[in-house]
Amino acid sequence: MSGERVVTRGAGTTAYTPTEMMTVTAARALTNDDVCFVGIGAPSAACNLARLTHVPAITLIYESGTIATKPDVLPLSIGDPELCATALATVSVPEMFQYWLQGGRVTVGFLGGAQIDRFGNINSTVIGPYDHPRVRLPGAGGAPEIASACGQIYAIMRQSPRAFVPKVDFITSFGHGDGGDHRRRLGLRTAGITLVITDLGLLRPDPETKELTVTAIHPGVTRDQITQATGWPIRFATDVSATPPPDSHDLDVLRDLLARTARAHGTTSAAGDGST
């Protein structure tokens, strides 16, 4: 979190950064019954914070084959030694994707991404045309099948017009396509993206159109800020709630986790974007 200015101070609570707000809010979306397929970076920070605070029984799975892992520090990569050493079991990568993901055992897929669009489609492949990309991104990884096979998908991304675009340059992972019943028409039986957690608030697909719509705003953030940070004319739900601020226990646990992680990796933060 170093380098990021503290811009928010909750009523009577510890000061916190927008990234902390995002991570804590993402963690709160998880339950003890969830079996969660965890992307590296921001999703991994949120899922482990959840495990270390209100949902100790949650099952975290990383695509490297580690099932029910309980890392003491955040992994830098999707296959750090810590993940295997603290897992209930480690399976092969084909088994992970065939039996566990495609087999429908995962309730929540937690993804990051470079671009997301109005209908929750995610791009992690290219900016610009596929054959002559302006920016070549890392690519799909596990994301396309995470997006189709998990019960539902939560995405966590900092909100900006470059990241939140009307239509992604390339659909790596299908969200709601062109909206409406597009998923059903493709034979998808899972819910797809149901929640996007940003540093400004929460977005959920409209029940009918599936357009991502603001349903909650973080403390101190304005509607105008959100509109400015979104690449399409974003709508606000009829009932927009105020996200509760992080409490001091959440922040303590998160900061301890990041400090332990930084000491272990010799870097300042392991919560940056990374693989799926």
Binding site: S148, F174, S275
Partner: protein, 285 residues
Amino acid sequence: MTAFPSLADAVAALVRDGDSVAMEGFTHLIPFAAGHEVIRQGRRDLTLIRMTPDLIYDQLIGMGCARKLIFSWGGNPGVGSLHRLRDAVEHAWPAPLELEEHSHAAMASAYAAGASGLPCALLRGYIGSDLVGQHPHIRFVECPFTGERLAAVPALRPDVGIIHAQRADRAGNVLIEGIIGVQKEVILAARRTLVTVEEIVEDLQPPSPNTVVLPHWTINAVVAVPHGAHPSYAQGYYGRDNAFYTAWDAISRDRDTFRAWMREHVLAARADDTVSGAAVEVKQP
């Protein structure tokens, strides 16, 4: 039968210009030492296959060994881009690089199909993804019972499969433990196989009857290369050098810095001749 040649002899015997070469290891046990020897021997026109290209493929691509890359996620894990991979794709430097791009689920299944002697793998995958249509290797078939449309990808059968493992015994049986990735699959799918190991022991001592052990007759050459997976890791031997992964971002960002680093740390080095030379018998496909 497994041979125990030097790393230089093993690579010379098993890796040829124009081959498709899969070096696997999912974050764990990435065969860096073997990849460096391929670079030193100046192999060209390789089709490199790997789910997560990682730094070793960034190095191979930057040194001009590759013509094509088959992959599913090409980044520096937790750090950012692979700059040499991006430079090849975005600016054709040092050479153009053809991409054949998968998802992890498809590529893992394609290796499993290769190991299984099947021509293709089926998966419930790629639904709604723009990867479909970019590539002729993603097709669809109908389930003959339900009519469901399923994605199909061709099996991966690399000319050469290279992995790093914890240890081998003197017969050439190899033990892998921890994050096992697609290592077993790539060895069983490949026509020629090379395994580097941390050590060669009298008795493998698998902790469980179900431990992953590759029998010696699946492997052409075993070479003891201690630390052969660094900067990735070998569980039970050494940890991941996360600081090097972070440092690679700066080293690889600039072409000249990259080349200087490669000259000093790879080209100038010699493969450890830890085991004296022995003929490598190449099994028939």
